[in-house]
């Protein structure tokens, strides 16, 4: 009985061996588990490393601008400037880059990334929120000269710094502003602005234009952009006392549509600026509502051999009129001699042009020449029906250039425009800076300031998402009901039907 059968022995052996089998199974499970965990860690690590490498090496190369006007990338002209950069430029956005509530943010971020990508390390683009790092404002502008604010950009090279207001980088639809009070951007000048500022801060000769402040100085953001496209930065200054002096770095003084006459002090200060080879752009159009005589301003222009008369140019050639019913809005042309000088012959828009008279008793060293003129059959309508016997039908100047060659090495120069069509924001808001008037005024300023003219960076038209045919309120309601109610309800009905049919399955 005590003896075990062979079968029993085998069974006993099996029961003894069974724990070993279990151990072997656990080990296999552990190995598989470890292999699984290691493979997951490896895949995650490979994925992160792969993405880091792709990000570092290919991010900029594999970025494409799908907008029709290449809104998010810079043109070859800016690229050529960037390639020639020999100084490091910093572009600092004074806001939180991730703040999606900034309405203009998406226009700036991609194109400035493109600047950085194409500058071979010569442009350092950073975003610093002054709320997070308050020291940044004092670091950039220790003496608070520029009054730097949050939500602006700064372009900086060495000690030269320029603040950029993002809102000034757009052209706005004036109709939308007038009728709806909405600033609707129609053109994007970001590239023109930043390339202009980069040129300005890196040039050995920083160019500065000044606007004479006061006298209800109108908005001038478009003229600013034209000046900027020449590498010239602009700002306003006022003359309040006799000791005031026009800044030494003033390349061009702009007197823009003064609504009141300049003061005697201003006249004297500007005269002394002219005597020191100054360059002035004076825009003084004719306004029927404004009966100012501009006595002091006339004294100033008379110094350069021109008088500002109380008359408006009346175009009699119907083929040169914009609208047949308005003889004061016409097409002007560049004179042949000046067209040869600047290499451009253009038709230009002219509206409400003041009668500019070349003084017969001007100094002998002063040479006055018309740059833009009317047709040969224009005349002058005088205010209060005044009659000037010396005025008859003929060609009248729209823009005059007066040069005082007393100092032949550095002659002083004044450009007098009888119309604001070349400088006003309201004109450019509907036509953008690709317009003939903008092209001409850029050439003209480049000519008198001796700045080599290169191609202009065109305004990038912002696509309009507005429906071209306005929607009536009933049609809008109908579409609202369809998209917001009918489609979801149809889906829900399908869902309920399916549920009722299949709930017992």
């Amino acid at each position: 009985m005590a003896r075990k059968t062979a079968k029993e022995s085998i069974l006993q052996e099996k029961t003894v061996k069974s724990p070993k089998v279990k151990v072997r199974s656990d080990k296999r499970f552990r190995v598989l588990k470890n292999a699984s965990v290691i493979s997951v860690i490896l895949v995650v690590a490979i994925c992160i490393v792969f993405n880091l490498i792709v990000d570092l090496l290919l991010d900029k190369k594999l970025t494409f601008d799908t907008t029709s006007v290449k809104q998010n990338s810079i043109t070859s002209l800016s690229e050529s400037y960037l390639k020639d950069l020999d100084k490091k430029v910093e572009i600092i956005g004074l806001f939180d880059k991730n703040d999606t509530s900034i309405e203009w943010r998406d226009y700036f971020l991609p194109i400035l990334d493109d600047y950085e990508a194409k500058a071979d390390g010569m442009i350092d683009l950073r975003y610093i929120d002054p709320d997070v790092d308050p020291f940044i404002l004092t670091q950039l502008d220790p003496n608070n000269v520029y009054n730097l604010q949050k939500y602006t950009y700064v372009v900086k090279c060495g000690d030269i710094l320029v603040p950029v207001n993002p809102y000034s980088c757009f052209e706005y639809d004036s109709d939308m502003l007038y009728y709806y009070g909405v600033y609707k951007p129609v053109g994007n000048q970001i590239e023109n602005t930043f390339t202009g500022y980069i040129r300005y801060v890196t040039s050995g000769r920083p160019l500065h234009a000044y606007y004479l402040g006061g006298h209800d100085l109108p908005g001038h953001s478009n003229l600013d952009n034209i000046l900027l496209s020449l590498g010239m930065v602009s700002s306003e200054f006022t003359i309040s006392n006799e000791s005031a002096k026009i800044p030494d770095d003033c390349e061009l003084l702009v007197i823009l549509e003064p609504k009141s006459d300049i003061t005697i002090i201003e006249k004297e200060v500007i005269k002394s600026y002219i005597d020191n080879s100054g360059k002035i752009l004076l825009v003084n159009d004719f306004d029927k509502e404004n009966t100012q005589n501009y006595t002091n301003l006339n004294d100033l222009t008379l110094r350069m051999g021109v008088t500002l008369e109380q008359g408006i140019i009346h175009e009699n050639d119907v083929t040169r009129l914009y609208t047949a019913s308005d003889p004061y809005t016409s097409i002007a042309t560049v004179t042949d001699s000046y067209a040869q000088t600047i290499g451009l012959q253009l038709d230009l828009y002219n509206a409400n042009c003041r009668y500019l008279k070349i003084a017969s008793d001007r100094p002998s060293e002063v040479y006055v020449s018309p740059l833009v003129v009317t047709s040969g059959s224009a005349s002058v309508d005088f205010q209060n029906a005044q009659i000037d016997a010396s005025v008859s039908a003929g060609t009248y100047p729209v823009i005059l250039m007066s040069v005082d060659a007393t100092n032949s090495q550095a002659p002083s120069c004044m450009i007098i425009a009888g119309t604001s069509a070349f400088t006003s924001d309201s004109y450019y808001s509907t036509r953008t800076l690709s317009d003939n008037n903008a092209v001409f005024v850029r050439r003209m300023i480049g000519d008198i300031c001796e700045i080599s003219i290169e191609r202009t960076i065109p305004t990038k038209t912002i696509p309009s998402y507005a429906l071209s045919k306005p929607l009536s309120s009933s049609a809008a309601t109908m579409w609202s009901i369809i998209v917001m109610t009918l489609i979801p309800i149809a889906c829900l009905i399908c869902g309920i039907y399916t549920y009722r049919r299949r709930r017992h399955l």
């Binding site: 993405n51 799908t66 907008t67 226009y107 991609p110 306005p470 998209v483």
Partner: protein, 260 residues
Amino acid sequence: MFAVFKREFLSYFRNPVGWVAIALIGVISGYYYTKMLTGAVSNVDISMEINFLRGFFIILIPIITMRLFAEEKRNGTDVLLYTMPFSMKSAVLGKFLAAISLQAMMLLCVFFHMIITIALSGFVSPAAWGAIFAYMVLAALFISIGMLTSAMTENQIMSAVFCFVILLFLNLLSSIASSLSEMLKSFLKFTHLFNLSDSAIYSAGENVRKAIVWFDPYEKTNCFTTGVFKIVPLVFCLSFTFVFAYITYRVLEKKRWSQS
């Protein structure tokens, strides 16, 4: 794989989940579209609508993905998955494709809005197509995350909650990064650790923020709405989609061993 895809995709429409999800996206997108259409100027920008819809991933993706594997477990049909004559890869891929197809179906509402916009003489920019593409890639990434949470849990609600928490975390990643960066800066300033200068402390904080934000898929794909088409964010989203799908596969494989 096709059999799994077909079964899974049709199952969305054999119960109310798919219909409710489409109805939900129809209401949300319809509301935004109506707001654009009836505004003072009728400014209809489809890319902005897509951008708006991205904010609802945290609700929609858990709804779509919670049932992918968790329901199999609840019904006891998961054993079929483990014993069927196809690999787990096919099962994962089939279910993933079904979920992404449902997501694409949801976008039909947006396509309908595009047709209306064109019919009403509006403008559909290339940026809108870029935004749709980015939306789908982002959806693929989030679906793979939802699929993983579904595979890891045995309860649909738990799966949806986990998925919601992860997506919420990703949604807030930029803010979290900024907060951590600020905390680090304050800590370094307060403790004078390493005696760093102000600018060095600022750089340290910024680098931490950048490192964290690098993982933010929302931040990476923001550019598509402005008309910038970048390949790298797509590679990022798709590669991490693969990673999460792979982890899901490993989790299911592990369950299969456990079953055996």
